[in-house]
Symmetry: C2
Amino acid sequence: MRVGHARFDDRIFDETSRGSANSTIRTGPMTLLLRAQKMIRFASKQIIFHEDDPADAVFLFASGTVGQYRFLPNGRRLVAGFLFPGDFAGLSFGERYSLTAQSIAPTSAYSLPRAELNLLCSHSTALQTDLVCLLKQELVSEREAHLPMLHQAAHARVARLLLMLARREGIDGGNGEAVQLTMTRGDIADYLGISVETVCRSFTKLKEEGLIASSSPDRIWIKNMARLSSLGEGQD
Amino acid sequence: MRVGHARFDDRIFDETSRGSANSTIRTGPMTLLLRAQKMIRFASKQIIFHEDDPADAVFLFASGTVGQYRFLPNGRRLVAGFLFPGDFAGLSFGERYSLTAQSIAPTSAYSLPRAELNLLCSHSTALQTDLVCLLKQELVSEREAHLPMLHQAAHARVARLLLMLARREGIDGGNGEAVQLTMTRGDIADYLGISVETVCRSFTKLKEEGLIASSSPDRIWIKNMARLSSLGEGQD
DNA sequence: CGTCGGTTTGAGAGCCTTCAATTCTCGTGG
DNA sequence: CCACGAGAATTGAAGGCTCTCAAACCGACG
């Protein structure tokens, strides 16, 4: 139901109003801690933190979309992933951020100084246990996201991204709701490791084959979840 | 190509020798804890743990080489990574292993039941802090290993693997020492996401261009570290 | 109405895969 | 000691996929 320039309200975390939509709603100690912090708002295309800067804060996003990326020496941009409401950033970094985080859409986030987090962790085993849990989740989900793509063709990677976004929005293939692509074709290309043109051609091909439909470039309906899944999961 | 469903029963237990072969530099609490455990020995090509089995142990490897992998629905094998002396396995899994670990060469490992680790962690903040540190390292190194490969050509991926192995053996390009490839071309292919033939052709090309030399398929000398680095790091 | 950034489509070149055949390596048995 | 055989590694050829370069299209905005 979200429209183009919707305001960022707190209904993101109002679990009753989202129904079965978002499966990422967490209520662990870390989430509760972050939600008690001040909220920061970012316009679109703003840098939230920059690679090589001292990693002195962690974030929990409440609305919007964020891309994390860095550049190869040849100038190509690697998008490590996208962050959505309910996602954390900064938990896994060492002394310095190893990625740049930039808002792709208007975004709001809770932020907590890292020094404060460390202090709190040293006094709360529950918080530290939760941190371990979050790091494990991040590790597993990153493995699930990136590993298969190394072995998949371009259109399978696009299918995989669509499935990831659909699952996040609670879309199971039942018609009606559309997947909202907040990122550009360029962002998608730099995430999937293929060119912008190939991203476009993949969307076109998926449309031609009836797996998806779209009214505008950023709204995708999944018409055949079964075939899109088998494509994205790698069932040849 | 799919390996039989070997189970834990296949392990070779050998408690007699506690070899000092390990040259690991790390001496964190987790390392010290694991090194005090019983050592297990595996012959080559043995299953250490299997995907979907209950993840009831963690491992610290003391010698040998281990591959962690799983299969896509189409039968292709994804090698998530290789484990060497000093590396841990099993720290990041949830209820069940999400990968299969198999020895590529004869291997020895310290093993600790997970339940025991959890108990110890709940009593030692130092241990838990070390666990957080290890998970962060695993996350970072996995990002560094897999992300760039999505955007690199075949020969650059091969170069990257060689650099990773060279760094691990402390080879800085100074002549003399050779990188030892304990894994087969097939293992490398399934790790890099390219075909066996392309792996071979990449090695051949690197030899022709004088970046590397080799006496046998599993011994590689780095002749031009500067150019190999720029190739592997993505300097076009 | 014109500009600008983002998206889409087209054409040609190059890389990678698949299928196939050959060579290499090494352990085994004669 | 040597021949043999199985698995691994390597090389070759044809075809498909993806990239780059180029051009056309589209929508938002001043």
